[in-house]
Assembly symmetry: C3
Homo-oligomer: 251 residues x 3
């Protein structure tokens, strides 16, 4: 794929940076700004218009990769280095920082904020009004809800603080805060706030210990948390060097 594939439809009103590539059968609508070297795979639809938007364009930062079959609405903004899986859906008024990764089949319903260096794995569901900090990990099939008494007009988003990790297939109930550096175990249903550095598990989720008690499963005997003490893949050296100096602690 180089440049704009002849089968793609690119609105003349869309603003494309240098070196942008658009795959076969993709559609770039009017209200779209793609940064330099952004690659959009096949069958993607970028910048769908909606009355729920605020008139601002869909902005995709430099050096981003949107994999095939993905759909983005207008009035959302992503910093440089966005990488998506396939079949991703992102609605309007989603504002994300640097180097966001969004797994295949993930849906972000809009009106949400996402910090820097956040990783969503596959099939994550993010309801409106969600707030995600920096360096957060959301694993496959997690659901972040927002309606405490469905159906209602009272949408209360979840908050996931910096460095927290939410394991596979967990559900976070409306208004709940997952504390900094905490861990939600797989298949949990989190009904109450989780303090920092704690592990919660079960339906409903209960605190089962502190993250400091978990060892890596690599035979080293080293602690698994804070994960910043041993995991650096995909982050810039300027950040991970700082982690290394502080044994994974962040200020």
């Amino acid at each position: 794929m180089k440049g704009i594939h002849p089968s793609a439809y690119v609105s003349p009103a869309a603003k494309l940076g240098d070196g942008v590539e658009i795959g076969p059968f993709s559609i770039i609508h009017d209200n779209v700004v793609l940064g330099d070297r952004v690659k959009v795979g096949a069958y993607c639809e970028m910048g769908i218009s909606t009355p729920l938007g605020d008139g601002t364009p869909l902005i995709i930062g430099d050096d981003s990769l949107i994999r095939s079959q993905s759909v983005f609405y207008e009035s959302s903004s992503f910093g440089p280095g966005l990488i998506t899986g396939h079949h991703v859906i992102v609605r309007e008024k989603t504002i994300a920082g640097l180097s966001f990764q969004i797994g295949t089949f993930t849906e972000i319903q809009g009106d949400s904020k996402v910090g820097d260096y956040v990783r969503f794995q596959s099939n994550v569901f993010v309801g409106k009004m969600t707030t995600i900090g920096n360096f957060v990990w959301i694993l496959p099939r997690v659901v972040l809800t927002n309606d405490p008494t469905p159906p209602s007009n009272v949408l209360i988003g979840c908050t996931v603080e910096d460095y927290a990790s939410v394991a596979a297939a967990s559900v976070v109930l409306p208004g709940v805060t997952i504390g900094r550096h905490s861990l939600v175990a797989a298949q949990a249903c989190v009904t109450k706030d989780v303090p920092p550095n704690m592990i919660v598990a079960g339906v409903p989720a209960r605190i089962i210990g502190s993250t400091g008690s978990i060892k890596l499963r690599d035979g080293s005997g080293r602690p698994a948390y804070p994960w910043t003490s041993h995991f650096s893949r995909g982050y810039p050296a300027s950040i991970t060097e700082h982690w290394a100096l502080n044994n994974g602690e962040q200020q």
Copy 2:
């Protein structure tokens, strides 16, 4: 999008009402009837033929909106006002009433009945033989199963009665009935019938109270259920006026 996009393939055998719009790269097969003013987004495939059908066409009622990347088989029928998200899959012999809404990534496997004014949010899975009443809410990631002893040839569908609400990521086991105006809490596994107006929660789900005990989270102190006492968005005034007169009670 106006009319039929030049990149779409529309069978001459398909019947299209007045003002139908078909998006880029979409495919309308032979055995399809689209009502007046139906809009079909990009990359949709409507009316796939199957030996499991009964020869009847895929019928989409007037004023419906099918969002991009969705797939419908023949031999299903939808009343006016169907609205879907993206990447929706509906198999044959699904019969739905008025104003059905189907969220993104939802799959309906067919041989099912859905009443009027039903809302499925994102990523709902509906096994064959399911029966859904009127005014039902199914929240994201809910699974309605049908095989009591997988794998087997004994498919027993679930039933969700009028006005019931099934919260995020819950599973309903084969043959279970979710009673009228009841509430299934998030991440539950419903193994037994739920009586009307009750709340169930947990794995396995147990009755934890009546819906009358839940207050709205809007600070008003008003009861959250029946939800028809306070929630009217998306329903016609002729219906909601009746709800208002009866404090949300339905006869």
Copy 3:
């Protein structure tokens, strides 16, 4: 659909068997081998190149059916008779045997092995390093995980042994083995190995009995397990005759 649709892009470097059919708007990349009579639906992308591959092609065995909107990477291999639903994603280095069925919205992340006659229903998530035996059933929305302390570099895949059945919406934790002919109940979280012929249920999952205690729900009073004693749909007679002779027992 007959032959190659004129809107499809098929690399001249791809190797296509006799009678191959390629649907509208599909893309067949260079490093692809499609067996005889393989049918690829609309909007499919086959053989995406990746630096994580090993240089080998995507190989799809004879008489396979890939339904629309599916995506396969290079360096994976499937025996004859592969059948997929729609919107399926399969990454590199997935090696599967005969007659594999993959449900709609299922994602296989690669570096995995799958035996013969395996059935994945809809929306299954398979993490890297997973091993699946023969005649296994994985029901909708199941998650097979691999990271014991997310995030980490320690990926430990799950194993599902021959004839085991994992019911809807269950999660299997990293490194867990689901024993031969065992049954994981719906919405379970399996944290420990499951012995053969046992049923586990709950969060966390516990053994609740042996599969021999479950009766079919067809009124016959016959045992539901081993399921090979009563279920034969989709398997060749040469295999099911053997099952019938042995009352469902396999050696």
